[in-house]
């Protein structure tokens, strides 16, 4: 089984291993991170490096692990995430870049200069109202106790959210209510709310014309944007990236986010426009057509499902047979594959990254592991469910073990086995969409991008084919079941 996995992984790794080593940039699954990834790619290319971008990976943990294991060379990160999540528990002074530097170095990572903005909590008001009331800072709100505030539920709850803001700025007189983040913008726009919390680089800031109030007392944690690179990255590549230091201020980042998110300009082009303004010329490739996207995601998705399912059949059927033959071993095997099933998929993917990196291999291994249970269980129950008189007849005829398995037991258990494979296939088609979180492509990718850009048509580009594929798998295996079920068993 191990050899088989290695073979599968080797085949998958072939195309990337064959080309020269480009600098690998990663980004998180939200627009700002993708834009910054594209900006980094542009800067690297301008510096004479090949660069490739693995976009929209699942989250900080996934990128951090990928960076440390050498799957990627850099990705955009925020100091607050570094301090509160990734380095949490490390000894030493984490609050400054200088303090973090030796710790990061020990981990084989390096933090480049701040890009020039922070993406942290902020409080904002519509510009005209702020102007009329002469509100510039959060503290100014104290002068207007009649204002109605609305904050996202999370902000209301968090200790460093509204409770702290209220205490530090003495806003006890103001009423605040919790609501959904998206509704807050609309409430602000409609005049129902005077101020709300936001992230300081939200695209909506530009769209609605919102004034971001200054946080003079420094209530909000520092979330300074920067590139996190591997310590062993070519110094010339580092130099090319360092040119970006301090070049993106908060309002510029808001504008870039708005360009991508609200105008639906492809991130590569948004990045190219920005780089052009700061004097770096980069070519952007042709944007992918919707058909091209469908073809590519279908191909990726099918590969994920087919390879993992095939490997699962090759492993699970023998496991099921062994489990049926030896009840004590069977109990262990069934319990083991059952336990695998209970691991949350994202956790499993994250666990696999240090071993298998990002991209298709960990996704295939995860799908493979999830596919085992239905097939093992059905093979086992199909075999142990064969009536004893039939087994004894076969033994009494003189059929040796292997022939009995081949001629009698497997054919009789076949409908059950195929039903297990069908279950695995359908589950696999759905679960494979999560592969996009670790850069494995497939239908999850347009879904992720669609969620990120709030683009329903893009979400449907992934969700509809995934649903269709699941139905096809269901129908196809049902037909196969009918075709392969021995005539006498129908």
């Amino acid at each position: 089984m191990k050899a088989l996995l290695l073979l599968v992984m080797a085949v998958l790794a072939l195309p990337s291993a064959a080309t020269a080593e480009p600098v690998r940039v990663g980004s998180k699954k939200f627009t700002e991170s993708v834009i910054l990834g594209e900006v980094a790619v542009g800067a690297l290319r301008d510096g004479g490096f090949e660069a490739e971008h693995t976009r929209e990976l699942g989250g900080s943990r996934i990128l951090w692990n990928a960076l440390r294991s050498g799957e990627i060379d850099l990705y955009p990160e925020y100091s607050g995430t570094l301090v509160q999540e990734l380095l949490d528990g490390e000894p030493g002074d984490l609050s400054t870049a200088a303090g973090r530097q030796p710790i990061l170095k020990r981990l084989g990572v390096r933090e480049l200069s701040s890009l020039g903005f922070q993406n942290t909590y902020a409080v904002g008001m519509l510009e005209p109202l702020a102007k009329k009331l002469a509100v510039r800072s959060i503290g100014d709100l104290a002068r207007h106790p009649d204002l109605r505030l609305g904050f996202s539920n999370e902000f209301m709850e968090r200790e460093d959210g509204w409770p702290k803001v209220r205490r530090v700025y003495g806003l006890d007189a103001l009423a605040a209510r919790g609501l959904d983040h998206d509704l807050a913008y609309r409430g602000l726009h409609a005049g129902n709310l005077a101020a709300t919390d936001l992230y300081s680089t939200d695209a909506e800031i530009a769209f609605y014309g919102i004034r971001v109030l200054t946080d003079d007392a420094g209530v909000f944690p520092e979330y300074s944007a920067m590139l996190l690179v591997r310590d062993d990255l070519d110094p010339r590549a580092v130099a090319a990236l360092e040119r970006l230091g301090g070049r993106i201020d908060r309002s510029r980042m808001v504008a870039l986010n708005a360009r991508a998110k609200l105008d639906r300009t492809p991130e590569a082009q948004v990045a190219a426009e920005f780089l052009g303004e700061v004097g770096v010329d980069v070519e952007t490739g042709q944007a992918e057509s919707r058909l091209g996207l469908l073809v590519r995601t279908t191909r990726d998705h099918l590969a994920l499902v087919a390879i993992s399912l095939l490997a699962a059949i090759l492993v699970a059927v023998p496991l099921g047979i062994a489990a049926a033959r030896r009840p004590r071993l069977g109990a262990v095997v069934l319990a083991a594959v059952g336990v695998v099933q209970t691991i949350p998929s994202l956790a499993l993917l994250v666990m696999l990254i240090p071993v298998l990196g990002i991209g298709a291999p960990p996704a295939i291994v995860a799908l493979f592991l999830y596919s085992l249970l239905p097939i093992v269980r059905n093979t086992h129950s199909g075999l142990v469910g064969i009536p004893t008189p039939l087994i004894e007849s076969a033994i009494a005829l003189g059929l040796p073990d292997s022939a009995r398995l081949r001629r009698i037991e497997l054919p009789l258990a076949l409908p059950a086995i195929l039903a297990g494979v069908k279950t695995s296939a359908v589950i696999n088609v759905g679960t494979a969409t999560l592969g996009a979180l670790i850069g494995a492509g497939g239908y999850g990718q347009p879904i992720l991008t669609g969620i990120r850009l709030d683009d329903v048509s893009l979400i449907l580009m992934g969700a509809v084919p995934a649903a269709v594929l699941a139905l096809l798998a269901e129908g196809g295996f049902a037909a196969l079941e009918r075709a392969l079920t021995p005539k006498g068993l129908r």
Binding site: P389, A394, A396, P411
Partner: protein, 241 residues
């Protein structure tokens, strides 16, 4: 031909078969009879090596069958289980030829053998290409018998071969079976719970009760010289109108 020496079987605390001695002479047809649950099937399953006896040995032609000997021994024995035990996914022909195919017989030889067996058990030829689910009970029993006879075994073990059939077909098949036994000169151990059937099929009757052989002999022996009061009760239950 076949010798059971002190063979006993228990399932947990339940004693299915007391230590039993039984010898089958070549060409002899023995009918094994007794109330339900007395251990008839268990005795046959011991001979086939499907149950491992707690004590005693099973010997074929004077040589005890050891753990490694079953594979060869089974090829010399034909076994028909209580409900026929046909494989539902194979046609009747597939059921009959399964073992010969496994042993690498040529197709012609298999076809010839099946043909002659079909004549012997008087099965219509179109029944051969049907699956067991599409056959009558009598046809299934005939096919089970064909399958047991396919490799021309010296010893036949039949567990209620006519169990589930209606009385008319049953009488016909009893006659046919007896003719087959006589024609082929096989050594046969046939289980039944019907004393009339036992008398028709067997050269002698072995009466079993609670895992113990109570008496061995012909029907007149059982009637006229019963070994225990149980034998009298058992026989008179059949003699009563």
């Amino acid at each position: 031909m076949l010798e059971l020496c002190g063979v006993s079987v228990s399932f947990g605390t339940l004693v299915a078969l007391q230590p039993t001695d039984l010898t089958l002479e070549p060409g002899q047809v023995t009918a094994l009879i007794g109330p339900s649950g007395c251990g008839k099937s268990t005795l046959l399953r011991c001979v086939m090596g499907l149950v491992t006896p707690n004590t005693g040995t099973v010997a074929l032609d004077g040589a005890p069958i050891g753990a490694a000997g079953w594979a060869a021994a089974r090829l010399r024995m034909g076994y028909v289980i209580q409900e026929g035990g046909l494989f539902p996914h194979l046609t009747a022909r597939g059921n009959v030829s399964l073992m010969a195919e496994h042993l690498g017989w040529e197709a012609d030889r298999i076809a010839d053998r099946i043909d002659s067996l079909r004549g012997l058990v008087q099965l219509p030829s179109e029944a051969l290409d049907r699956h067991p689910g599409a056959l009558s009970g009598g046809q299934r029993q005939r096919i089970a018998l064909m399958r047991a006879l396919m490799l021309d075994p010296a010893l036949l073990l039949l567990d209620e071969p006519l169990g589930a059939l209606d009385p008319m077909i049953r009488a016909d098949l009893q006659r046919e079976l007896r003719a087959i036994f006589t024609d082929l000169g096989k050594t046969v151990l046939v289980v039944t719970h019907d004393l009339t059937e036992a008398a028709r099929l067997g050269d002698r009757i072995v009466l079993l009760r609670d895992g113990d052989i109570v008496q061995t002999g012909t029907l007149p022996d059982l009637r006229e010289r019963p070994a225990t009061p149980f034998v009298t009760r058992f026989v008179s239950a059949w003699d009563a109108p």
